[in-house]
């Protein structure tokens, strides 16, 4: 398959003392430079998958290849440099007492030279729009700002892939937009590959491609437009659908004429008008 930066081939994983598989015979590929959203209900296996991509778990069957390297104990440290992770809780990932110390922490651990480190800390913080906060204490920042610093810490290590594990779920709506916008800019400018693991549908809707996980298996995949056409099916999987899709569904049920489940708000308004109200 094309230019895959991550290949997951028939991977299974089971936690000790659990009768069900957390991941069962999962195969998927991530293309270099794409934005892939992985969605699924709580317990669908998406967090297990995230942990596996960062070598916190190893597959019990099958293979994971990241940037050409097989995921195994020997390669895990190289892989962790290629793939940076941003976690859910902004408060759980701060180690430094100031913003710049925090970003420097990862660089220090990878033995980056002092002068290079200073420059990288600054440029990374510039890229996420946090350069004016260098000496601020992290607990004075908003949730969105904290997550942007976490992203800066990750990109300072110059990864090829950035993995967001429910990275916006604890933020308020503005913080969420702030973080998603930062990621979008980074992806475009730096050519990063982005994987976002989420159950926020509006977030998934921004991706190039969506994979739906259910009970540890890949249920389906496609463009956001295609995925959200399945609206009732997604609801049955414990997922939701974006607002305009839901609105389309309710309008159709209420007897209004619509050609499809709309994904774009303006298109929905236009069609509602032309098929129902225009004289």
């Amino acid at each position: 398959m094309g230019d895959s930066i991550i290949s997951i081939e028939r991977v299974s994983f089971q936690y000790p003392d659990q009768s069900d598989f957390a991941l069962k015979d999962v195969s998927l590929h991530v293309q270099r430079g794409e934005w892939l959203a992985i969605v699924g209900h709580n317990g669908s296996g998406k967090s297990t998958l995230a942990k596996m991509l960062n070598g916190l778990h190893y597959p019990q069957a099958g293979h994971v290849t990241i940037g050409g390297l097989e995921l195994c104990e020997e390669n895990v440290w190289t892989i962790r440099v290629k793939l940076g992770m941003v976690f859910q809780n902004p408060d759980n990932q701060f180690v430094g007492t100031t913003v710049q110390d925090d970003v420097a922490f990862g660089l220090e651990n990878s033995g980056v030279e002092q002068t290079v480190m200073k420059e990288r800390v600054l440029t990374s913080l510039e890229k996420v729009g946090m350069a004016s906060f260098l000496n601020q204490e992290p607990h004075h920042l908003s949730g969105g700002q904290k997550q942007r610093v976490a992203i800066a810490s990750v990109i300072a290590l110059q990864p090829d892939i950035i993995l967001l594990d429910e990275a916006t779920s604890m933020l308020d709506p503005l913080g969420r937009d702030e973080v998603m916008e930062t990621i979008r800019e980074l992806k475009e400018r730096e050519g990063l590959t982005v994987i976002s693991i989420t159950h926020d549908l509006e977030e998934a809707a921004k991706a190039d491609r969506v994979i739906v996980l259910n009970k540890g298996s890949v249920y389906t995949e496609g463009t956001p437009q295609a995925i959200f056409q399945m609206d009732q099916e997604l609801l049955q999987l414990g997922l939701g659908v974006p607002f305009t899709v839901k609105m389309s569904h309710l309008l159709a049920e209420a007897g209004l004429q619509l050609s499809k489940r709309h994904f774009n708000e303006e298109e929905l308004v236009k069609e509602l008008w032309t098929l129902n109200f225009e004289k």
Partner: protein, 287 residues
Amino acid sequence: MDIKLREVEYRYAAGTPFERLAITDVSFHIPSGEYVAIIGHTGSGKSTVLQHLNVLLKPLKGEIEIGRRTIVAGRKEKNLKDVRRRVGIVFQFPEHQLFEETVEKDICFGPFNFGVPMEQAKKRAREAVQLVGLPESVLERSPFELSGGQMRRVAIAGVLAMKPDVLVLDEPTAGLDPRGRHDMMEMFSSLQKKNGLTCVLVTHSMEDAARYADRIVMMHKGRVYKTGTPHDIFRDRDSLTAIGLDVPETVRFQRLMEAQLGRPLSRLCLTPEELAEELSRMRRESL
């Protein structure tokens, strides 16, 4: 049980160089049995207000009436146990507070410490798991082997087992998947309607505030910016955007539709269901 705040002020680290004004001149009324949503941007003082509702924080100015009890700034308050039992707070990520070996023990911890005999506490635990939609078999299990959503329900059951009159919820659905979120919000709504609980919801979700609340309190920079019914609050988009909030998606969509139609709808719709119904009615009338 009514709660009334009158000109409440609170400062963190008062009297130190780090003193910071968190809320000031906060007055509002939570009538018994109502569902009140508190909305506001991060840092607007929502959480500080919330901690006053069962006197985890005491006002530095003003007073709070909680049922028959009045907490006055500067006065030593003793025996707050009853107030704390009657106002149950579900904090953000309440599952982080689970600690016991079994779900039953965890739920019993609260009531037992408030003096309920163990046998009765166990009975309450059984009722509470039912209220939050978990099977009774969960009582014997360790809370730590449950899923995130189930753990959250157990933690909420622990608060319900104290039989509070007022349930205070701080972002209770953060981190849950859409179905979990919906089920949990419906559960609180039914507790309010069927069991007569007063609900206070702190939320970032304008959709939830619009759908469930009887009354909304808008906070901004430590002050009450505006209070009113969801209709009052969401009719006025400018005052929301001025403080970094916005109308629910449904209202935004209604406005787009009105622009296209060239005239306003006959009423402001707060949920997608209402809006679909209204548009369908309009279409029938225009035929």
